[in-house]
């Protein structure tokens, strides 16, 4: 029997090292995980709160909204309304995991297995993260962003910078490229580029150009709609990108700020699409590692029971009529699906062979799972791998709530043969960001006229924008665009449902 990793609840840094080594052994040898180098940092509750308010990142530019977050979290934490997470893990290379100092030795083992190996593997291998994030560059880029924002505050004043950032934050959810572009994002290059651009501006600055008389501007009213759209890259769903490139009166530093906010939004884009998978992977990995360590005798029975207790808390899924219910718990759903895949691969029923001919009975659990982890996101993962057995087990059903329907909310499908596919499709759709985020695009600019910016919101299933918020966001948008902005909500038949027009606030514009 192997030596125990620790006894009781206490740990020190020597023990942490042993735990990490043991986890790594299981993770690489038994599970075949491929991870970024790990960096494990032990922090206090206060530091955890700090991290919460800067979206979990170790460094971030300064903005009042993070202070608001902090005040909010602090208040609810002090009142005992909220517990703190056991860990935070950052998609960077090296992969940084924060561990709370209050955790017992068992919890530290769980957390290391969960974050430093589960999440870490997912970050490194999932196609979305590979496509959209640059783990090597993110910390340097955030450092650059922080310094850049600071230097802007020095040069142009805090109020101006804050105004730009406020506006950019309001549009953050629509500052994302949803389709992969031609080249991979390289944040280090990004940072150098910004420096070069500034330097170039300083070098070629010549005040004389300002005094050169301009000829009568050519009227190009004859520009066709098609050509104009092409010039401006329309339609464009990335509003921040559009403003950065085409807003007529923004100062270069403002464009750079928009760019920073946009890059950061993009960095978090994969995380919002892979909550179920990401947590499912990490939970499955920590479960496997902990079980293995227990089998090897490295964790005592008592500590293993402690682990099982927190584990079951994490993967608890209340039913819909339970007071605690607040939607599907991504940990529960993800873990259940991973275990279900394991079952299908090793011990399939006839039903599974019919539904999952590719993986049923393949016997290489980790091979299948690693492939799944690498190539799916929540929506496609659920659409592909949610099995009838799991739907029956969780007793899933689909409700259709049409406000027009007087009789009430219809039960559209339940966990039976007729309903499996419909329930699954609907659940997948619930995890599809394409459906979650409002579909808003820039469709046209009236360049020859009053330069009004025209946006369309394609309304799905009659769900229109919240009026107060929409007006506020549009106000920010108009302030950046500096001319009128119109948002038109259209339904599937191009019927106009509602039109907003907002004019920019009169502010001193940096010319």
């Amino acid at each position: 029997m192997t030596e125990r990793l620790f006894e009781g609840a206490d740990w020190d840094f020597h023990i942490l090292q042993r735990i990490t080594d043991a986890c790594e052994e299981v993770a690489t040898k038994d599970l075949g995980l491929d991870v970024y180098p790990n960096q494990i940092e032990v922090i206090t509750a206060e530091q955890m709160l700090d991290a919460y308010s800067s979206v979990g990142m170790p460094l971030f530019y300064k903005h009042w909204s993070f202070g608001k977050q902090f005040a909010y979290h602090e208040a609810s934490y002090r009142k005992g309304l909220m517990g703190l997470a056991y860990e935070i893990v950052i998609n960077s290379s090296p992969c940084i995991s924060y561990l709370m100092e209050e955790n017992t030795a068992t919890m530290q083992t769980l957390v290391i297995a969960h974050a430093a190996f589960g999440h870490n593997h997912f970050f490194k291998n999932n196609y979305l993260f590979k496509q959209w994030t640059d783990a090597d560059g993110i910390l340097d880029y955030l450092d650059f962003a922080k310094k850049y924002v600071m230097s802007c505050e020095e040069r142009y004043g805090r109020v101006e910078v804050e105004r730009t950032l406020d506006a950019a934050h309001a549009l953050m959810s629509h500052g994302i490229d949803r389709y992969p572009g031609k080249k991979k994002l390289d944040l280090r290059e990004e940072e150098k580029r910004a420096g070069r651009r500034r330097q170039h501006e300083e070098e070629v600055f010549n005040d004389l150009w300002r005094t050169v008389p301009k000829g009568a501007s050519k009227t190009r009213s004859a520009i066709s709609l098609e050509r104009r759209r092409k010039l401006l890259g329309l339609p464009q769903e990335n509003l921040l990108y559009f403003l950065e490139k085409s807003a007529p009166r923004l100062a270069p530093w403002q464009r750079e700020l928009l760019r920073i906010v946009r890059h950061i939004a993009q960095y978090f884009y994969p995380q919002s699409q892979t909550k179920v998978m990401n947590e499912g992977t990490a939970t499955y990995v920590h479960y496997r590692i902990m079980t293995k360590l227990h089998q090897q005798g490295r964790i005592s029975d008592g500590n293993f029971l402690e682990f099982l207790q927190s584990h079951t808390n994490v993967v608890f899924q209340p039913e819909f009529d339970d007071q605690r219910f607040s939607g599907f718990n991504p940990y529960a759903l993800g873990f259940a699906m991973m275990q279900d895949i394991e079952r299908i691969v090793t011990n399939p029923a006839d039903e599974d062979r019919e539904w999952f001919p590719d993986i049923a009975g393949k016997n290489d659990v980790m091979g299948v799972l690693r492939d799944v982890w690498a190539n799916y996101r929540d929506e496609s993962f659920i659409a592909q791998f949610l099995s009838p057995k799991l739907m029956r087990h969780l007793r899933m059903f689909h409700l259709h709530d049409d406000p027009e329907e007087r009789a009430g909310i219809r039960v559209d499908a339940i966990h039976d043969d007729r309903g499996f596919r419909r329930v699954r499709r609907e659940l997948a759709r619930q995890h599809d960001v394409g459906y979650i985020d409002a579909n808003i695009e820039v469709v046209d600019v009236d360049l020859s006229g009053d330069r009004r910016l025209i946006l369309h919101h394609h309304v799905i299933k009659g769900s229109q924008l919240n009026e107060t918020d929409a007006k506020r966001v549009l106000q920010h948008l108009a302030d950046l665009w500096t001319y009128d902005v119109a948002l038109i909500e259209v339904d599937g038949n191009d019927k106009v449902l509602r039109e907003y027009v907002v004019s920019p606030r009169p502010i001193p514009v940096a010319a």
Binding site: D50, W64, G67, F70, L399, A407, I409, V411
Partner: protein, 427 residues
């Protein structure tokens, strides 16, 4: 694969402090309103303790495009009895779970905890001490140490290694001290040399270099530099606060309580402006004495009322202990307004000639019984006297208070920023 385990617990905390301050600055007017409201409900002892405040979220709202309404589809776990095609009543279990958790209540109000310092800051933010110009530098309080370049002599503990080595390097280069590799090269050349004559020449050269090395030391006492420190006097502003109170029989507990509240506010306020604040308590009936705080507020006393005695006592204490050129002097007097008629003239004279010229600020607080309507009938003798002095241009501040809740507004009123006064004189 190397794994780094780092202990961050000792890192300086408060990383979010800056963001927090920005948030408070932005929400300032809202938070300030909340602070004042909170402080009115509190006891004076913990009025400045900090704690939870609630502000409306409007204005601190961060808008996003979000949708509501329309047809909704949801997949839920835990079906027990539904089959396809069932209809559920809307008001019942079906609608209990629609809106996202926490969205609703975070919308209208925002609660958070302020620290003590933040609370005091906001509480006193728009207040200003009158006549701040008269700050004096105290002679004793402290002397700071400050770096002042380098010196050629000093204690070994203060040797500046980098500076010393730099100078030594410069000297060695200037005097062409041979470097180690030069000698090694030469030795190698000697070892490789076959020609006897050349060897002799090289050996001589080596000797010469070695001698030179001996002559020119690596570090010479000349090179050594010490960090030099200088003591500089640090300006320390100090203030003394005189609390004068009538403790004659006519002063009730309620009135004393009012006075106490006022003094406490004044103390907190001065404490924030001056590093060093002393308090002198003078109570008086028909004669005055300097007492400690406990006796001041709670000690029994009775007798007639002679305000001039207190002023006289204050004047003497100032003369003995608090030189007006070294101290900022503040005085606050609380009384129910009674004064012996014959004393009026003396009081007026003492004030105008001796007290007011040396004071930064003199406040008179007339306290009354709860309900306080008697005030409006006629002004007390002291009030009439002070009013006359004020009208003749003396810098006196005076207010009447009869309810606890009025203390803060009155205080606030007395110390609010004086821009308005300047504006008046300007045109």
């Amino acid at each position: 694969m190397p794994i780094h385990i780092i202990d961050r617990r000792l890192n300086p905390g408060g990383k979010s402090l800056e963001n927090r301050q920005r948030f408070l600055r932005r929400a300032k007017s809202l938070v300030q309103g909340a602070v004042k409201k909170t402080s009115q409900e509190r006891d004076i002892k913990d009025v400045l303790e900090g704690g939870e405040v609630t502000i409306p979220l409007d204005g601190m709202h961060e808008p996003r495009f979000r949708r509501d309404g329309g047809t909704r589809d949801m997949v839920l776990p835990g079906n027990k009895k539904f089959i396809e095609g069932d209809y559920l009543q809307r008001s019942g279990q079906g609608s209990a779970k629609d809106s996202g958790p926490g969205e609703g209540d975070s919308e209208d109000a925002f609660r958070f905890v302020l620290s003590r310092d933040e609370f005091v800051d906001l509480f006193l933010d728009d207040l200003e001490l009158p006549d701040l110009a008269k700050r004096k530098i105290a002679h004793t309080e402290s002397e700071g140490i400050q770096r002042a370049g380098y010196t050629t002599s000093g204690s070994p503990a203060n040797i500046s290694v980098s500076r010393t080595v730099r100078l030594a390097l410069a000297r060695r280069i200037a005097l062409k001290r041979p470097r180690k590799d030069e000698i090694e090269e030469l030795e190698a050349a000697i070892a490789a040399c076959t020609d006897e004559d050349e060897r002799v020449v090289l050996l001589a050269q080596l000797e010469k270099l070695k001698a030179k090395i001996k002559r020119i030391p690596f570090i010479d006492p000349l090179d050594i530099r010490y960090r030099r420190f200088e003591t500089v006097p640090k300006p320390v502003a100090q203030a003394v606060m005189f609390c004068l109170m009538d403790v004659s029989g006519s002063m009730s507990e309620h009135m004393k309580d009012l006075a106490k509240r006022f003094y406490m506010l004044l103390y907190v306020f001065l404490k924030r402006r001056y590093k060093h604040v002393e308090i002198v308590f003078i109570r008086h009936t028909d004669r005055a004495e300097e007492v400690d705080e406990q006796t001041f507020f709670y000690g029994p006393a009775s007798g007639g009322t002679l305000v001039s005695s207190a002023l006289q006592a204050m004047h003497e204490i100032v003369r003995e202990r608090f030189n007006p050129s070294d101290w900022n002097i503040y005085a606050a007097q609380a009384s129910d307004g009674d004064n012996s008629y014959s004393d009026g003239e003396l009081t007026g004279m003492l004030l105008t000639d001796k007290i007011l010229p040396i004071c930064q600020f003199f406040a008179y607080l007339e306290v009354g019984e709860s309900g306080g309507s008697a005030f409006d009938l006629s002004d007390s003798s002291l009030w009439t006297l002070y009013e006359r002095l004020r009208n003749s241009g003396e810098p006196l501040s005076m207010r009447k208070v009869s309810e606890r809740s009025e203390i803060f507004p009155v205080f606030h009123d007395l110390f609010q920023r004086r821009e308005t006064a300047q504006e008046k004189t300007a045109p």
